[in-house]
Symmetry: C2
Subunit: 207 residues, 2 copies
DNA sequence: ACGATATTTTGACACTGTCAAGATTCATTG
DNA sequence: CAATGAATCTTGACAGTGTCAAAATATCGT
């Protein structure tokens, strides 16, 4: 007890090893980003808040980028959940189901704005290289969207003027554009979000 | 000549005063951003490249943010030009005129991707405060778009299911979404840009 | 108990934005 | 022309960043 108690500052009851640094880092980083955006997250502050030294995180994440990718992945998983829940819902009206998705998408992107920016922002996709697993998740996600669009076209809920791929791209871009303009602070009036989403649905539906 | 020649390093032929630092900074910064994005621009490197000391730029731009805003403003002015040229074009078919705008918008956003990101990105609109003049320019720009949308609705080129404001917001969001996905590197295949734009037009037009 | 391996730390480097104080030049008076 | 005040530019400094290398410590399989 003599050695351990007076030689180091960190071995005072807590272990030298953190135990679950990976998880702690991920969670803490997610919180920091949720509260203050990506630019509020620094590896040093993160390490400090978790209670380890500056470079400790680098043994669990090769890069800052790798950390960000991991956080983005969680966002995609949540998004995936959303699509699944909708498919299993009791909503039989497919038009309404589509409208529901649009509204939920916008709402979710707004509630988790910083994570959303990470998922589709230049920080990861342009400035750095997205992780292999993140790329995979992202592709899967779009594929599911594409499949759904295809189905909606076949049932004439959506127009078939263009191919399923093009339609999927454009409709998604519309959703994405709305979310970006809101999240980035270009649209400041958040009160009309609902109406904007509704107008988007009107534009996309075939009627 | 004795005093001036051996006392300082900078007074060796060139003037101590740069002459047009403001302009040089703006131009050089624009180039740096065009080539390497916002994150490639540092005040220090910029000053170095222009040939002045680190803090010289701060006598012409209060902030790095103020510099960025100035660059963004130029982007808006170019965008404004675009709309004006279209109105004065000889294209009489309003649907086609609208389609032309969409394609030019996407093309321009792609050619000046970094500047576009600056114009509508979080860097300025969320992380910092946009300059008063930038805000004004931005509002004007949207107002012109809104007026046009209104006109197109009255001539039944665009559906009037929703108000002009909502329609303007959603159509613009669609354009913006496409450009963001391309610029941010989420869509990597640039070969289909034309087709995507075409599909967007199809979705927006009333027919 | 020992040696390999995983984990964490300290030190260091090259960057960044920007503030404060001093130096230099310019423009405008007297 | 000389002097004074304003504009402009420089040097020094501070706190912060990501991340590499080498050393320290802990854990685990033998």
């Amino acid at each position: 007890m003599s050695k351990a108690s007076d030689r180091s500052k960190k071995t005072n009851g807590d272990n030298y090893h953190h135990g679950n640094l990976y998880g702690s880092l991920l969670q803490c980083a997610t919180e920091i980003i949720r509260d203050g955006g990506v630019e509020a997250l620094s590896m040093r502050k993160l390490a400090d808040r978790v209670g380890v030294s500056r470079t400790a995180p680098y043994h669990h994440f090769k890069d800052k980028n790798e950390l960000l990718c991991a956080i983005a992945e969680q966002g995609f998983q949540r998004q995936e959940m959303l699509l699944l829940q909708l498919k299993e819902s009791d909503q039989q009206d497919l038009s309404q189901q589509f409208a529901d998705y649009v509204h939920t998408y916008i709402q979710l992107a707004h509630e988790n704005r910083e994570q959303y920016d990470l998922m589709f922002g230049r920080e990861i996709w342009r400035n750095s290289e997205p992780t292999a697993s993140l790329q995979k998740l992202s592709r899967q996600h779009f594929q599911h969207w594409l499949n759904w669009i295809d189905k909606l076209q076949q049932k004439s809920i959506l127009r078939s003027t263009d191919s399923a791929l093009r339609t999927a791209q454009v409709t998604w871009a519309t959703l994405h554009g709305i979310c970006r303009l809101l999240n980035d602070g270009v649209y400041t009036e958040e009160s009309n979000v609902q109406e904007i989403g509704e107008a988007a649905v009107q534009m996309m539906l075939s009627n």
